[in-house]
Point group: D3
Chain length 173, copies 6
């Protein structure tokens, strides 16, 4: 029986911290389902990239890291604003799974209330690896964000002119 | 530049006809995006399987057929009931693509009105390869459906006791 | 610990068959939660009465039958069209409960898939006690529907001129 | 004080029967609000034209008939599936009005339940002037539909290749 | 004819101030409909408790206060984000009523614009009795919240480990 | 062939700055489509007026300015929260058009990504002509707002007692 875990996030954009969680989880389960949340939203400061762009970034970024993509599902899921039913709702969109992967206490709680066990990955350095900080660097014109993400992610962002987009949204351009 | 096409369907369930379309499309583009539509619905006669179950069937069924999964995206998308905006809406959830893949005249039209070129695959025998007929065979207790789908699809349906489910929904069980 | 069960239905309108299920369930649990489904819909042939009118009919109809209303919750819930998450969704709106009450195989299945035990009440005579037949009698002008529902239900329908409403909707008036 | 009435319909497409209702209503009120319902839907057999196409057809068709467009509001409104709140919902989108314009008993009832008086226009010949019949003529290739609609409506349908569209949707083309 | 009033709130959680409004209203009408708003939301700092948990708290809390529950309806209603249609929308879910109960000027206005009279209850001390302050006390670990709510409400919050939940959501636990 | 442009805004309320954009656009196209966005919202500080009230203000305000209303479409459109599909979604509700009219960089970008050319009107003095400032003046009781809007707009706001409404919403009244 294939054992799967579900790892939800927004991945705006994927960074090396996310990659470390994926690697850690794949040591514990056969397959990992990555749910790209808030899939309906894009072109905002918090969510500049579309779900489809994020699907691509996650796949190519994990490939960069040498991760076996055939063990990964990448599933975008739009929001419903009902926390108490959120796990059941997300579970419609994904193959059967045994574990949730989360550190956030609310997400841990929601998995447990829905009857799932939770795998809590070790903390990465959130002062450095943070999508929020990456977006702020992009807005400020600080090129340092490039070393916080896999090279394919930077390449995709360049191809879609993502920095220009987020600067326009923020009123900086 | 990677060239992609988008192939939408409901895949309730995936059958060999679908597989032949995928194979045909992969001869023409680098990567194929398979959109699993009506993703919100399950446990009805027309849509017995959840989106997540269908994601799994599509992936494993294509693997059975020797198709290179690393060239495939499988993306579930819930309905909006606005045909005129449907292509733009679906496009949020998927990586950039150049072609639609469709034979249905309405879907061909929607792709064209949205500015996409359309690849029209050769017809397969819809009298034989038809998800509707497969579901009817399941309801009637006709085991013949098993040879219309890849073996992994039949195996997944067995594991989730899918025939029992559709018979219950139809009131036959 | 209070033991509760959840009994979902549309109650268009409540009839003596429903009352028998409620009575049967109250012999098995401390409190019964009656969920009035498809709460958003009214003024159609299948759903002529509003959720609020149905809340009133259920409460007064059960009172007629001598049922202790203080052991009952009556909760209207609008549809979501996602069967696989429906039980989790309904559960947001109701107090904690242990059992589902259902005979319909799909509803029994959905309760079980969501981790609830199911109490299956004995069948009542669905040839006689049927909301669909009651609505058809109303449309045809057959007063026989009045003996199929508790007297308070008939009184409420008269007060809101419900028969006139359903006849208008059906084009008979 | 300007006196207005609200006339709801789907106008798939506008025909001379609709025009006669508009003319009749403008003899009784200062301004008429035409609500184009089911605005979200298009590219189906029942609703082939988009809301925007219908806005244009209604405006140009009424102009053909010599009606003073400056006394008309044309407002598309998407469906909510809650009949009991429908009038209140539609009223968000339109200027204040005193009367509903309707013959359909359900619509008359909904206006009255929401506290509006209703103007009931004289019947036109629904055997001849019927959007449903016009759409069927288009599907069958019967050019007779052209004399049932104002010339501008036929011209707009030709410009958007509407007959081709509806025939494709119906599987006739 | 039974005279009813409608009292909307979020009741996150019910406190003695709410109880005093209920008592005051029941001196003026036969039956009171308590609408639990924002029913879809839970597990947030502003709305930690589910609609169903709040239904239970309201019923048990009013029982504590010696209020005759058979004169009360407790109806959870999810948000629509259309203020101008909100009263009509809520009215779908509740039995017919004559009065709104509100002090907030916007809510008073919405009831009046929808054609309802409004009963304005005397002010209670909002510096002390405030759901917002109760939630802050829970987050800070101040046990003082317990004397601001009926004992059954505190008991239910303990049973569902509600303080732990809100502290987790707030990042304090 | 009629050339049209689409000008989106919230118009809470219409002011002389908006009028100058309309006048400028009508020098460049045959017809202008004014989309009234966030149409579902009203009775909030940011969106005090209903869509229907805004339709009326825009029409009468443009008439005051001597603009030929027969060249204008005024179409209210409710929000969807999907920026990447927003132009396609709005386009359902309006007649065919060639240009977007916008200065905001995000809106300019969304038009371009959807394949439309953009007409960028000259800036008006946003320190003076600003709906946000007009609403603040109303709340503070500063009558200066009256000279920032066409006289018909002020008259409509008086008739609907709009200043009283916004002051109540803000807690100032």
């Amino acid at each position: 029986m294939v054992v799967r875990a579900l790892y939800p996030g927004r991945f705006q954009p994927l960074h090396w911290g996310h990659v470390s969680v994926v690697r850690w989880a794949l040591e514990r389960v056969d397959e990992l389902i990555i749910v790209i949340g808030t899939a309906q939203e894009s072109h905002t400061i918090s969510n500049p990239f579309t779900a489809g762009e994020r699907v691509l970034m996650v796949r190519e970024g994990l490939r960069d890291a040498g991760i076996d993509i055939s063990r990964i599902f990448i599933i975008p899921v739009p929001d419903i604003l009902m926390n108490a039913a959120w796990i059941a709702y997300v579970s419609i969109y994904v193959p059967p799974y045994r574990y949730g992967v989360a550190r956030n206490p609310l997400v841990v709680r929601l998995f447990k209330e829905a009857g799932y066990e939770v795998l809590i990955p070790p903390a990465y350095d959130r002062e450095v690896y943070s999508s929020t900080k990456i977006r702020l660097m992009m807005i400020r014109g600080d090129e340092g964000w490039r070393r916080l993400v896999p090279p394919s992610v930077a390449k995709i962002i360049d191809e879609i002119r993502g920095v220009e987009r987020i600067r326009e949204i923020s009123g900086r351009d």
